[in-house]
C-alpha cells in the first residue's frame, strides 16, 4: 500500500505532462503561471497558522492541555478513542484553517509516522469544513427550510473520523 501511495504522484505528474505535450501546449509556461497562485495561497494561510500555533503552544506549555486531556480521557477510554485526537475532531467541522493547525501540531508533537499522527493527517484530509460549506451554500440561494441537511453532513463526518481511527489503530 505504501508503494501504491508512492507511485501516485509521479504517475499523475507524468500523465498531465504527456497529455499537455501531445496537445502541443506550452507546458512550462503554463506551469510557471499557475505556480504563482501557490504563493498567494500560502501567504493567505500564514496569519491563521501563526494565531492557532501561538494559542496551542501556550495551552501545551502551561500544562492546561494535560489537565483537560486527563478529564476527557475518562470518557474516551470507554470507546477506545485516543484522547489526543479529540480536539481535532471537535474543531474539524467548524474551522478549516483552525483544524489544519491543530492537526499539524498533533503530527509535530507525536511524530508524523506515529499512529496518532497518521490518524490526525487522515481526519484532516478526509473532509471539508462542514458548517462553513452548509452556511455558504445555504446563503447563496437564500432559503429558509434546510430540511435538516446538517444531519447527513455530520453523519458523514463521524463516519470518516471513525474509519480513520479504526483503520489506523
Amino acid at each position: 500500500m505504501t508503494y501504491l501511495s508512492t507511485m501516485i504522484i509521479p504517475v499523475i505528474i507524468s500523465i498531465i505532462l504527456l497529455v499537455g505535450l501531445k496537445e502541443k501546449k506550452k507546458v512550462y509556461d503554463l506551469f510557471v503561471e499557475g505556480a504563482k497562485e501557490g504563493i498567494k495561497i500560502t501567504i493567505k494561510l500564514f496569519p491563521t497558522l501563526l494565531g492557532i500555533f501561538l494559542a496551542i503552544h501556550m495551552v501545551r506549555s502551561s500544562g492546561l492541555i494535560d489537565f483537560v486531556s486527563r478529564v476527557i480521557a475518562n470518557v474516551t477510554n470507554l470507546f477506545n478513542v485516543p484522547s489526543e485526537i479529540l480536539p481535532l475532531a471537535i474543531i474539524k467541522p467548524i474551522s478549516g484553517s483552525g483544524s489544519m493547525a491543530v492537526a499539524t501540531d498533533i503530527m509535530a508533537h507525536f511524530g508524523p509516522d506515529s499512529n496518532i499522527g497518521m490518524i490526525a493527517a487522515t481526519i484532516m484530509g478526509s473532509s471539508e469544513t462542514t458548517f462553513y460549506v452548509i452556511a455558504l451554500y445555504m446563503s447563496s440561494v437564500n432559503v429558509k427550510d434546510s430540511r435538516k441537511v446538517v444531519i447527513p453532513a455530520i453523519l458523514a463526518d463521524l463516519a470518516s473520523i471513525i474509519t480513520a481511527i479504526v483503520f489506523l489503530s
Binding site: L30, E37, H57, F67, T122
Partner: protein, 194 residues
Amino acid sequence: MLNYIWPILIIFSFIYSIFNGNVDKLNNSIFESFDEVIKLSMTLVGTTCLWCGLMEIVKNTSIMTKLTKILRPIIERLFPETKTNKEAMDNITMNTISNFLGLGNAATPAGIKAMEALQQSNVDKKRLTDSMMMLIVVNTTSIELIPTTVISIRAALNANNPAGIIVPIWISTIIGTLVGIIATKILIKRSLKK
C-alpha cells in the same frame, strides 16, 4: 467562533501557568511557535506551487472535458434535477472535478452557480430541493484525489513517506461520502412520505 475560542485558550493558559508556576515556559513557547510556523510555511509554499502549476496545465488540456464525459452518468443519478437543467449539470460537473483535483478555489464558485441554477427551477423557493441537499452534503465530504496540503505538511515534518497517507485518506473519505449520500437519500424519502 474562533473569535471566542482563541482568546479563551490564551487567557486560560496564562492563568493556569501562574498556578502551575511555569510562566517562563509559557513565555518561551510564544516565540517557539513563530519559529515552527515559519519552517512549516517554507515547505508548504513549495508543494502548493507545484500543484497549482500542474493544475494550470490540466485546465488547458482535454483532460477536463474527458473527465466530464466519464462523470455524467454518476451525476445524473445523484442529482436527478440535472437531467432537465443543463446549467446545473455543467456547474455540478465542474464542482465535482475541482473538488476531486483539490482545486478549492474553482470548486466553490462552481458549486454556488449550481445552487443558483437549481433555485431557478425550484418550485418552493424557500425550501432546499433534493439535488441541493445532495450537493451540499457531497461538498462537505469532498473526495480529493491528491490531498496536497496534508502531504506537504507531512513532508515539512520529515515523515518517512509523506505521500503514504493517500490511501488511508481515500478509504476514510469514500466511506464518509457513502454514509453522507445514503443518509441524504433516506432523509429525502422520509420527507416524501409526510
